[in-house]
């Protein structure tokens, strides 16, 4: 398998919508204002509907219902705004694609579950940035999209081998395609020019010991992925629960006693997020 060619072909994937790039630019400009961002979002009716629906979902816990984009953005803050817009853009662009044995819906349910769990872990453990953890969780398996879309046959074979219990799916990806979703995901994020923290979390979420300890988001995503898989909240293809890395667990700052409540909340938060993002 020619992995370089696969990487070159990342350009064949749908690109992120222009409105996302403009929003990001506006947020990153030192004198940019949320007013500008709000106007940009409002210029895209489907984006604004989705942003309002997600901002109003129980997940963000706003006190009252908000019908105004600017007010919603003010309440959730600039980082959360960026993440929300990126999430909305991704889920819209990669929504209606056929993926073979994994449905796009299951794929995103898994991403949203991991995002929800990661945010909860970051909040309760107090080590990682909750908003970064959320986005890293959402993106952690993004590398599987190009594998499914660009190499359907080899990826289908890897998936079949996994279902026949020949090994963990990420190992089989390596074997069948010469690259796994963590590596390809990190390349894709770099291609989209997302900050390093996300690339690292995506590339190391199955090997958190490789990440630097100044990057607790990776450890958080590792644990969140485990939770999402063991609760079977959607799936990106794997049917096995990955093995927990002790170091990562310690790095999250969580106590075992906090886990039951996190599981409970992850289930409801995933449901809320999935209906906010994916219901027509």
């Amino acid at each position: 398998m020619d992995t370089d060619r696969l990487i070159e072909r990342l350009g064949e994937l749908p690109s992120l919508p222009a409105v996302y790039h403009r929003v990001r630019e506006a947020i990153e400009t030192p004198d940019g204002s949320l007013e500008t961002v709000a106007r940009l979002i409002e210029s895209d009716p489907s984006m604004s509907t989705c942003v309002l629906r997600v901002a109003n979902s129980p997940f963000y816990g706003l006190a009252t219902r908000v019908d105004n984009i600017l007010r919603a953005l003010t309440l959730i803050g600039a980082t959360a705004t960026h993440n929300l817009v990126l999430a909305t853009a991704l889920l819209t662009v990669f929504r209606d694609l056929p993926l073979g044995a994994v449905s796009m819906r299951s794929f995103w349910e898994h991403g949203l579950a991991c995002a929800a769990a990661a945010r909860l872990i970051a909040c309760q453990g107090g080590r990682a940035n909750p908003e970064d953890a959320y986005l890293a969780g959402l993106l952690h398996d993004i590398g599987r999209l190009p594998l499914y879309i660009l190499e359907p046959l080899d990826m289908g074979a890897a998936l079949q081998a996994h279902r026949e219990r020949q090994g963990h799916l990420h190992d089989l990806e390596q074997q069948y395609l010469g690259i796994d979703h963590t590596e390809l995901g990190a390349i894709l994020l770099a291609h989209w020019q997302l900050p390093e923290v996300f690339c690292s979390a995506v590339s190391n979420h199955h090997a958190p010991w490789r990440a630097s300890s100044s990057n607790p988001e990776t450890a958080v995503v590792h644990v969140a992925d485990l939770i999402a898989n063991s609760l079977r909240l959607g799936t990106s293809g794997t049917r096995w629960v990955p093995v927990l890395d002790d170091g990562a667990w310690r790095l999250t700052g969580l106590d075992i006693a906090q886990l039951p409540a996190i599981l409970e909340t992850t289930i409801t938060a995933t449901r809320d997020l999935a209906s906010a993002f994916m219901e027509p």
């Binding site: 056929p98 026949e164 799936t235 049917r239």
Partner: protein, 635 residues
């Protein structure tokens, strides 16, 4: 009272007294009762803790002071202590486990099935392996002062039961995905519950599904229902036919995986109020999947579940770089509470009836069975399967009835009529099978078949250099309400290399009224593509002079009703004349149907009717006959 001495050869004990005062060491008088009790409760336990509680209770009845530790193999293949009895002995048991591992007893037990070891002064312990024919699940450590070698049999049996219980608890789908190994030496084939598997998709097989459903019905209680969903892939045979069987198989596998994943998620369990092992997903037919659900606490949410399943399929499937859209129709049936003597077959029949309705309502939707539908007939079902068979075996055939220009007597075209002859040679009247085909949705396939066949006939006649007449075919209301009708028809004609102008589509006003918006839109695209559209049965159905001017029609067909009494009845003549006038004023040519004698023919010609059709002019005949009678003379 004198006791009857037991026969010597059956029991080593001399008398009943002797038996109870001197029991066999290690074989407690209650052993068999305890094992029977455990076996009886095994199938009803729904979690690991329930399973272990049953075993624990049994063991405690036999050996009240026994201490136990249960170790299960984790996904990474390590053994882990999951439960200790009693809780107060936790530390001691953990230390003992470590010690036994160090002494190599664990490895021995895993290899041999069991091993004895001492656990300090006057304490013996037994390690027994939890295993089934397909895999090793873990070990149980038993510790008790009274343990002696004969106990190995009893405790070994309890351990085997844990293995069976674990296998049952395991996700059905996963259990069936295990490659079934050839029974290895030492395994007990009688205890190996083999679940029949569908080889293509890895899902359960129909036989297992039906057994599961039957058990689910038996287990249902007022608050816990059994339910089933039947999913049928709409028009799947087209995938096989137009792509290939390999493609079809692959898509079925992908669909199966998606369904299985969508069902086995915590939110799905929570929403229905079930646990993992209450769900059985199976391939119940060639392109049909069944979901059997046991102990459903919220059957009212099944409809939501069905909607979810649709959304997992909506994005379609990737096929050689392009996307293939498939839809499924879903029928849902619930056996609520203590339904009188419902059987799995009954429930399946209900789900099937709901599935039929979903197909009928235009496919890609779900319908919940309602008992109020009860039984409009088996005749319908029989006809339906006849039609299915006719499609498969190609036993339909076409007849052609000539149409002539009344002024010149020249052949103007022919109406294509569908004929079905049964195996015994008896014809089945279209009037009896078309309504059935419309209600089941089969009319769409039949319609396509007719169109293709008509195209091929035209091509055959063209190749012989015969007159290039147009053919008129009937299009049903169901077909007209399909949004992709025009695209499908055009692509068929393109494939068959026949110009659109060679086919005249006959539609009834009633069909237009059926779904006016979609139909008119379809007709406009069809007109624009070059098809001629004729309004059939004009004047008898839903007629509205206001809307007729909106129809994108090419002409109208005067119903036989008005032709029939033409020569006797003055009223009929007036109506016919009025319609002809109306048509002329609107610029529509008219074909009169059902012309049965020369008088009718002459009258219509006198009124300026353009084209005629009827027994007087020519009966419907098969293609060869049509060619001989009407086409040869035209050349």
């Amino acid at each position: 009272m004198k006791s009857v001495p037991p026969p010597r050869f059956l029991s080593p004990a001399k008398s009943a007294d002797e038996l109870s005062s001197n029991p066999l060491p290690g074989f407690h008088p209650l052993t068999l009762n305890v094992l029977r009790e455990v076996i009886a409760r095994l199938h009803s336990c729904r979690s690991l803790s329930e399973l272990l509680a049953i075993i624990e209770r049994g063991a405690r009845l036999l050996l009240p002071t026994t201490q136990m530790a249960f170790l299960l193999r984790q996904p990474d293949a390590c053994l882990e202590i999951v439960h200790r009895v009693p809780h107060t002995a936790t530390d001691k048991l953990d230390a003992l486990v470590d010690e036994l591992i160090d002494r190599g007893h664990f490895g021995q037990a895993l290899k041999q099935g069991f091993v004895w070891a001492s656990a300090g002064p006057d304490r013996t312990c037994l390690l027994s392996r939890i295993s089934t024919a397909s895999r090793i699940h873990g070990l149980v450590l038993w510790v008790d002062p009274a343990l002696s070698p004969p106990w190995h049999q009893t405790l070994g049996t309890l351990t085997d039961l844990i293995g069976l219980g674990l296998e049952r608890l395991n996700d059905d789908a996963e259990a069936v995905l295990l490659p079934q190994p050839a029974a290895s030496a030492g395994s007990c084939p009688a205890l190996d519950i083999a679940i029949p598997v569908d080889r293509l998709t890895g899902l359960a097989h129909r036989t297992h599904f039906m057994r599961f459903l039957q058990q689910a019905i038996l287990d249902s209680a007022p608050q816990l229902s059994a339910a089933t969903l039947l999913l049928d892939v709409d028009g799947f045979h087209r995938v096989n036919r137009e792509l290939s069987y390999e493609t079809g198989d692959q898509i079925l596998c992908e669909l199966a995986a998606r369904l299985n994943d969508a069902l086995h998620t915590q939110p799905a369990y929570d929403s229905l109020g079930v646990v993992e092992r209450d769900i059985c997903v199976a391939r119940t037919g060639a392109d049909e999947f069944g979901i059997a659900l046991a102990r459903v606490r919220h059957p009212q949410r099944l409809v939501e579940l069905a909607a979810q399943l649709h959304s997992h399929i909506a994005a379609g499937f990737q096929q050689q770089g392009s996307r293939l859209h498939l839809s499924v129709s879903i029928g849902i049936a619930v056996a609520s509470g203590l339904a009188e003597s419902t059987s799995a077959q009954d429930l399946m029949r209900n789900a099937d009836a709901a599935l039929k309705r979903a197909k009928q309502a235009g496919r890609n939707r779900h319908v919940l069975y309602e008992s109020s539908w009860e039984a409009p007939g088996t005749a319908h079902l029989r006809t339906e399967s006849l039609l299915q068979e006719a499609l498969r075996q190609d036993t339909f055939n076409l007849h052609f009835q000539p149409q002539f220009e009344l002024a010149t007597g020249r052949l103007a075209g022919a109406e294509v009529l569908l004929r079905l002859t049964l195996g015994d040679g008896a014809p089945l009247s279209p009037a009896s099978f078309i309504p059935v085909a419309e209600s089941t949705g089969q009319i769409i396939e039949i319609g396509e078949w007719v169109l293709r066949r008509a195209c091929r006939q035209l091509r055959a006649w063209d190749a012989l250099g015969l007159a290039r007449i147009p053919l008129a075919i009937n299009v049903s209301a169901i077909e007209l309400s399909q949004p992709d009708l025009s695209i499908r028809l055009q692509s068929i004609l393109e494939q068959e290399r026949i110009g659109m102008e060679r086919l005249h589509l006959e539609i009834t006003e009633t069909a237009i009224a059926h779904n006016e918006g979609q139909t008119i839109a379809n007709l406009k695209t069809l007109r624009a593509a070059g098809f001629e559209i004729w309004i059939d049965d004009f004047g008898t159905g839903y007629s509205s002079l206001k809307s007729i001017k909106n129809y994108p029609a090419s002409g109208i067909k005067l119903d036989r009703e008005f032709v029939k009494d033409l020569s006797e009845d003055h009223g009929a003549r007036v109506v016919a004349a009025t319609i002809l006038d109306l048509a002329r004023n609107m610029g529509y040519p008219v074909i009169a149907e059902g012309i049965e004698d020369a008088a009718q023919c002459a009258l219509l010609r006198g009124q300026g009717c353009d084209i005629g059709q009827g027994f007087h002019l020519g009966r419907p005949v098969d293609a060869l006959e049509f060619q001989r009678l009407y086409l040869s003379e035209a050349t």
